[in-house]
Symmetry: C2
DNA sequence: GCGATAGTTAGCGACATGGCTAAGCATGAT
DNA sequence: ATCATGCTTAGCCATGTCGCTAACTATCGC
């Protein structure tokens, strides 16, 4: 299957790492410097930089450099595509819930092997 | 940072692959056999099996075997933790939106380097 | 200028991922 | 019993990920 959905893949992949999620949560409180973000994680600077570039490529954060200090901040609307995808899925899933329900019950029963 | 959130990581990782998302969308319509799922993807059976086990370990699908046929179905509530996390994040992010707003504007301006 | 500070780049090692083929096993149809 | 079908397992290869260290660059304070 082709990669006709690069945004979602980037986003989900960026969110799949606990360190990156904790960085996001930290940034949600207030923008921060790279070193400030590295502190709580216990990781080295280059490692944190990598995480930050993953987050930035996914569009989840922006960074800007003032002097020798790089400041990072979240991009609040970046999660919108994820939310949209979830909503779409839920819509489809719920539309079929009646049909699935019976099936899942059957599966549950059978998986008592 | 420790991995005190294995569920979300598994879920996000499972969702980060377009093939797996397309399998999910396909399964949202109706349960299907492994071969049925392999067809549209153009991938070989063992490859699809791997994707399916990733989805199953993330709790996104259940599978059951009847005779020699394995049938797969989505687990509708599996996306709930993702949705919950998104809601939490949005809550925090929006609470700080005023503060962030000014900052992001500044970042935007500065990134015209 | 000099040293400390903040970030960056390069590159390594261990391991995971995503694709494949080949071969095996189990079941259903004949 | 035999054969086709459907899945499973084992293992290979290329690439990607996540951590690190070491060394480099760029600023800031003095």
């Amino acid at each position: 299957m082709a990669k006709h959905d690069p945004d979602l893949s980037l986003l989900f992949h960026a969110l799949a790492d606990p360190t990156r999620r904790s960085i996001l949560t930290r940034l949600a409180e207030t923008p921060a410097r790279v070193t400030d973000l590295a502190g709580p994680t216990g990781l080295r600077l280059p490692t944190v930089m990598r995480h930050l570039s993953v987050l930035e490529e996914a569009g989840l954060i922006t960074t800007s450099k003032d002097g020798r200090i790089r400041t990072c901040a979240i991009v609040p609307e970046a999660l919108d595509p994820v939310r949209t995808w979830l909503d779409e899925q839920r819509a489809i899933w719920e539309a079929r819930l009646d049909r699935l329900d019976a099936f899942v019950m059957q599966v549950m029963k059978e998986s008592e092997e």
